[in-house]
Amino acid sequence: MNWKTFFAMLARDAHVARRNAIQLFLQTFLQPLLFVFIFGRVMVGSGYMPPAYKSLLLPGIIAISMTFTGVWAVAMPLIAEFQWTREIEDRLLAPIGVSWIAIEKVIAGMLQALVSGLIVIPLAWLVLRPGVDISIHSPWTFAVVIMLVAAFSACGGLALGCSMNQQHIGLMFSLVMTPMIFFGCTYYPWSALKTFPILQKMVLVNPLVYASEGLRGSLVPQFSHLPMVAVLAALAFFDVLLLGVGLRQFGKKAVS
């Protein structure tokens, strides 16, 4: 393993992310903040939603922001670079195993997802306050959950980015990301689906459910949520699965 090459590629991605910081910021945070404002502030303020909804909503918004950021940060450059600009070829010719280039992309995506998750907390708090009741009872559990969520988003980005055709980017968002968010227990807890028993079972194949519920369990444990053991196991399973699929697809794309 050639760490110098690995860290140089990571430095390149950090450099590019810094250069595009404002664009990334708007792309990542505008939508969740608007959502927080309308649902947390307007709907609660006008009495259509109970005040507790603010606290219930926040973990879901963090999960959405992290997932979007990770998937976007890994998938979009890969789609463009493999199919269109061929830019990635300079890294494919760097003295390092091809899989490590994919792993570097995943690490870079995870870092961006973590940054976005950690920034959305104070931002949303500013928009929602007063009345947000979040507390991190177990910092370790929170740290593990947020790492697993970041890994899920970045590995998902790798798998999607190496499987999608450039023409299908729009489809990826409307057919994969949008249903994932709406059936991802982001705007409501999983327990709220108990009146739809079949749907409640079906959404369990959606990894975002475990991201939202895990963040809910570690930030607002006063609300009902899936057991943390199940959440951690499921997130770990999806991380490994998506990484495996992503690496396989990346290997196929890298060599003709």
Binding site: T5, A11, R12, H15, T85, E87, D90, L93, V255
Partner: protein, 312 residues
């Protein structure tokens, strides 16, 4: 450097293999050219030798290293300039060179100095801090070559290096390639430009349909064409009788029917044959309607081996 490839991986049965039993051996310190028309398998050969294409069977070696099994070691030894620029659009020209150096583990001071030196050499210093997105094709090509030289590779692969370059830049490029070679490096370039192959390469392989048709120095290859001159003749109509009569003319080495009305004559002399050809044709009842004479060239060699012009 050795390549012995039998087509890219897992081609479905009805596909034509890009390479079919292509075998080459290139000693260190040589400028070697792969000459052939588009689609001949030149780029695939470069891909197989640079870890980017997996052959279904066969082997490729750079020095002591098996290209497929020891990819990281091979990638340290090679620099690759692709046919289509693949510069990192998120970076400036200088950053592209500096990060490339970093990927190869070069220390920050050295890579910074080298990047400046290469920008200077390729006349890109003034553009060094600009994003490459707005660069012209020629500037991108120069920067691609500078990037490939950044880690000082032992073997430089250039896939159609002067395609789309203006004559001035082409001459600059040729000088730089020669200079790099004089520093003891091996250069493999692909081209469909005979002048380039003739001017730069010490040895050449002529490739068509994934096969090597001929290998040798440009002069050896040119000398292998019967007679050296090619007269491409066109008649009102062409007959077997006409072909055999043409064969009897002094200095004619080989006569080939090109199509219904065309005849290619390989001969020791060029223009001086024409009056005799015209007289002979008139005697055979076939009127000579068009004549093209070419002097000994690699183009003629390609024509001789394949019956087609390189540009067909």
């Amino acid at each position: 450097m050795r390549a012995d490839a039998k087509g890219p991986k897992q081609a479905p049965k009805n596909q034509i293999p890009a390479l079919d039993g292509l075998t080459l051996e290139i000693p260190a310190g040589e400028i070697f050219g792969l000459l052939g028309p588009n689609g001949a398998g030149k780029s695939t050969t470069v891909g197989v030798l640079t870890t980017r294409v997996k052959a279904t069977s066969g082997q490729a070696w750079i020095g002591e290293h098996d290209v497929w099994k020891e990819q990281a070691a091979v990638k340290r030894l090679i620099g690759v300039v692709p046919q289509r620029p693949n510069l990192d659009f998120s970076l400036t020209a200088r950053e592209i060179l500096v990060f490339h150096g970093a990927y190869f583990g070069i220390g920050s001071k050295v890579r910074s100095e080298r990047a400046d030196g290469l920008l200077e050499k390729f006349k890109l210093t003034e553009r060094g801090n600009q994003m490459v997105r707005g660069f012209s094709g020629g500037m991108m090509q120069r920067l691609s070559i500078a990037r490939a030289m950044m880690h000082d590779p032992q073997v430089l692969f250039l896939d159609e290096p002067s395609a789309g370059l203006d004559p001035q830049t082409r001459i600059l490029l040729w000088e730089i390639i020669r200079e790099y070679h004089q520093a003891g490096k091996t250069v493999l370039l692909t081209t469909h430009n005979m002048d380039e192959a003739d001017a730069l390469c010490q040895r050449l392989a002529i490739v068509d349909h994934g096969h090597v048709i001929a290998v040798g120095t440009p002069n050896e290859l040119k000398a292998s064409i019967p007679g050296g001159f090619v007269l491409r003749l066109r008649f009102g109509k062409q007959t077997a009788d006409l072909l055999s009569r043409l064969q009897t003319l002094a200095g004619v080495r080989e006569v080939r029917a090109a199509d219904d009305t065309g005849v290619d004559v390989y001969a020791d002399r060029g223009g001086s044959l024409i009056p005799e050809v015209a007289t002979l044709a008139a005697g055979a009842g076939a009127e000579l309607s068009d004549v093209h004479i070419s002097e000994p060239s690699l183009e003629n060699l390609f024509l001789h081996h394949t019956g087609r012009s390189l540009r067909d």
